[in-house]
């Protein structure tokens, strides 16, 4: 008998996962005890030094800690210690805001560039120069000029997620079939109406692909930005736990960042499917 492809893929996924956990567990097992030390001295030392515990946490340590975080994700102990859920919410909020501003700027501008070959040529050099700049390079400049760390983080999200959307929108708009536009012209459809009823639906899949790339970039950037400015958010959480040399919590944060990033991507993917049409 044969199982569906989906089922077989799931079995392989689980097998890979279990193998990974198994190797991880074996690799981080406690090595032999290190020498002898007086009990008073041992009391002042950590487990790595006293019992040869690996500096890298094993899957069981991470699992236990993860459970602790999941049990109370929304606790709030003042400005420097908040639950994982609150930290993620802060990050998502910042990403959402920066991304929204980028959408508001990039899509109309992309339309303009796509519809006007003149603007396309004129703006191209600026876009090409600004596009490859790393998010962290913007950070000091933003902090220095905006004079607000939270707004600076949002600005950095904006500046980094605007380019893929802009370019994809421009490309999508420019690539709309000439026949469709010509048909609209013969029917004497005005510029605005043409943009909304003909070009927008035709370019929508490309635009949404750009938006999907952008949300991925925005989520990449937020962690780095928050590590730099501190305060709140999942990036700050990573930095704070790194300060404490708690690799367990860093791993948990990485896992959470991955899951949220995947969810954001899936949401955009669903929208893309909604606007895609068969030709």
């Amino acid at each position: 008998m044969t199982f569906s492809l989906r089922f077989r893929a799931a079995v392989v996924s689980i097998a890979i996962f279990l193998a990974f956990i198994g190797v991880w567990h074996l690799a981080t097992r406690q090595t032999a005890s290190v020498g002898t030390m007086s009990p008073e001295y041992a009391k002042l030392m950590g487990l790595t030094a006293t019992s040869g515990k690996s500096a890298m946490p094993g899957p069981l340590d991470v699992g236990a800690k993860l459970w602790e975080h999941l049990k109370r994700p929304f606790y709030d102990n003042g400005p420097n210690d908040k639950g994982l859920g609150i930290q993620l919410a802060y990050s998502i909020g910042r990403v959402g805001l920066g991304y929204l501003i980028a959408v508001i700027v990039a899509i109309p501008l992309g339309f303009l560039i796509g519809m006007s070959p003149l603007m396309n040529k004129a703006l191209d050099p600026f876009i090409q120069v600004l596009k490859p700049i790393s998010p962290l390079a913007w950070m000091p400049l933003a902090l220095y000029t905006i004079k607000d760390s939270s707004l600076s983080a949002i600005f950095v999200i904006f500046i980094c997620s605007v380019w893929p959307m802009l370019l994809n929108t421009a490309f999508g708009v420019a690539a709309v079939r000439k026949e469709w536009i010509n048909v609209a012209r013969t029917l004497e459809v005005g510029t605005f109406r043409r943009a909304f009823t003909v070009i927008l639906p035709a370019a929508a899949p490309t635009i949404l692909t750009g938006m999907r790339i952008s949300i991925g970039i925005a989520w990449l950037v937020i962690v780095a930005a928050e590590m730099l400015v501190g305060g709140t958010g999942i990036g700050y959480f990573v930095w704070n736990e790194w300060n404490n040399l708690s690799i367990t919590n860093v791993i948990i944060a990485i896992l959470m960042i991955g899951i949220v990033g995947m969810l954001l991507d899936q949401i955009l993917a669903r929208f893309t499917r909604m606007v895609t049409f068969p030709e």
Binding site: V34, M37, S38, E40, Y41, K43, L44, M45, G46, T48, A49, T50, A55, N77, G78, P79, N80, D81, P140, L143, Y144, K147, D148, S149, M227, L228, V229, G230, G231, Y236, W239, N240, E241, W242, N243, N244, L245, S246
Partner: protein, 461 residues
């Protein structure tokens, strides 16, 4: 003598350097021999009175010998009585404790870096020192020194924890545009150490360190100046013989484990963490380089002081009060517990306890005790600032002539509370310069140029 020691004790000194009787190398040695217990006042009223009385005694007796002779001849109690005749210590203490005017701003934000140097700033929150002054202070953990600087300049923070030389660097415009900064109080004295990787446990002589890669937290830091000083005294040129890297503290421990660096001079809790994790050992404490050296400072922009003088005064009082509390050995254990949670230092309590109580594992299997491993004394001696400027010049951070005293007096608000005390009708200490010794070489704040010229190893400028 620390600001919190009893100023009416003739055996104590008002200033540092050797011991009070002159027969021992250091005051701690002197105390060990004489079994002198320094009785620091217990209640907060007493604590305030001690601060005020210290200031008064300094003002009345700028010369150490005269004060001691006076106390010896009349005794402490009559000295206090005599002093109270012409200076209302009780009233001054009350004014100091309560503050003078209405607070312009009660919700304040103070930034800090999670290291034990920030102890007074941090503990003032969980232990209620800010509340006592009617302040509602958010202490905000911050990702790095440059961010602290920018957030204070941006007025997101009203005041902040900074490395002691940072306000000088900022005011002089080194590494940023010049903005007038002030240091109303020193956060901690001592409290650093040189930690080396375990593989170097037989290389205890710095002369063998050629080619080492050593880490410091920031260029404008006491860590940088002390490490360079220490190396140079042992004939190692810090610019050519070793590699000094600016590395954030948690990465120091990770890099030491990964064998990327050979050691570092860092805050004690980072040193102790390296030991706790079994990756390094304590070579020396920074107090063995300069006993009583300042480390971090409590800094505020001049603008905050002028726009909210009463809030600034209340904040300074809270810090001074917390510092006084932290200076007492019996409180250290509870402080370690108070500042260990994730909201503050986010570190294992046993590590902080070892730092603050001074009984610590040295990483080589031994347990050492040094109650003054880290200590707290807020008085921002202007001579500290002068010394830092000599080192900034020595290593090429400042070029050309420096108006040592002018800069020092603008930035280091001498009395931990010079301004605060003045506003309350108190006379600040008569002198804000003291000489001290760094690795046995004495520093005369009156002759910084000669001091600078006396070093063989320095950057040629």
């Amino acid at each position: 003598m620390s600001t919190f020691d009893n100023p009416f004790d003739p055996a104590r000194r008002l200033r540092n350097g050797a011991c009070s009787c002159g027969q021992h190398a250091s005051q701690s040695e002197h105390e060990a021999t004489l079994q002198l217990s320094c009785d620091i006042p217990a209640t907060e009223d007493k604590r305030y009175e001690g601060v005020v009385a210290s200031a008064v005694m300094r003002a009345v007796f700028p010369k150490e010998i005269a004060r001691r002779a006076f106390l010896k001849s009349v005794g402490a109690s009559s000295a206090l009585a005599a002093l109270s005749q012409f200076f209302p210590i009780k009233t001054a203490t009350e004014v100091f404790a309560q503050g003078a005017g209405k607070l312009e701003k009660t919700d304040l934000k103070v930034g800090f870096i999670p290291i034990t140097c920030a102890t007074p700033i941090i503990m003032a929150d969980p232990l209620g020192f800010y509340k006592k002054q009617g302040l509602n202070v958010d202490v905000v953990k911050t990702a790095g020194w440059a961010v602290i600087r920018d957030k204070t300049i941006n007025k997101e923070y009203d005041a902040a924890h900074m490395l002691a030389p940072m306000p000088i660097a900022i005011s002089l415009g080194l590494g940023s545009q010049p903005i007038p900064y002030t240091v109303p109080a020193i956060e901690n004295i001592n409290g650093q150490g040189i930690t080396l990787a375990m593989k170097h446990k037989d290389k205890r002589d710095p002369r063998d360190w050629k080619g080492f890669k050593l880490a410091i937290p920031f260029d404008y830091s006491m860590h940088n100046y002390l490490l360079r000083y220490y190396l140079a005294e042992h004939g190692i040129d810090p610019d050519t013989d070793v590699q000094l890297r600016s590395v954030p503290p948690p990465e120091m421990v990770a890099n030491l484990r990964a064998d990327n660096i050979d050691g570092f001079l860092a805050p004690d809790n980072i040193c102790q963490r390296a030991i706790y994790d079994g990756v390094g050992f304590m070579h020396i404490l920074s107090k063995e380089i300069w006993d009583g050296h300042p480390c971090c400072s409590f800094a505020a922009s001049k603008e905050f002081i002028t726009t909210s003088p009463n809030s600034f005064a209340a904040l300074t009082r809270a810090i001074v009060d917390a510092t006084a509390y932290a200076s007492k050995a019996e409180n250290r254990k509870s402080i370690a517990e108070a500042i260990a949670p994730a909201a503050y230092l986010n570190a294992p309590p046993v590590v902080l306890e070892q730092v603050l109580t001074g009984t610590y594992a040295d990483g080589l299997g031994g347990i050492k005790t040094d109650a003054k491993r880290v200590d707290f004394d807020p008085f921002p001696w202007q001579s500290f600032a002068v010394w830092m400027m000599t080192q900034m010049q020595r290593w090429g951070q400042i070029k050309g002539d420096v108006d040592y005293k002018g800069v020092a007096e603008q930035i280091y608000l001498a009395t931990d509370t010079a301004k605060v005390m003045k506003e309350m009708g108190l006379s600040p200490p008569a002198t804000s310069y003291k000489s001290f010794a760094v690795m046995g070489k004495s520093f005369d704040p009156e002759k910084p140029k000669e001091y600078l010229a006396s070093f063989k190893i320095r950057k040629a400028t």
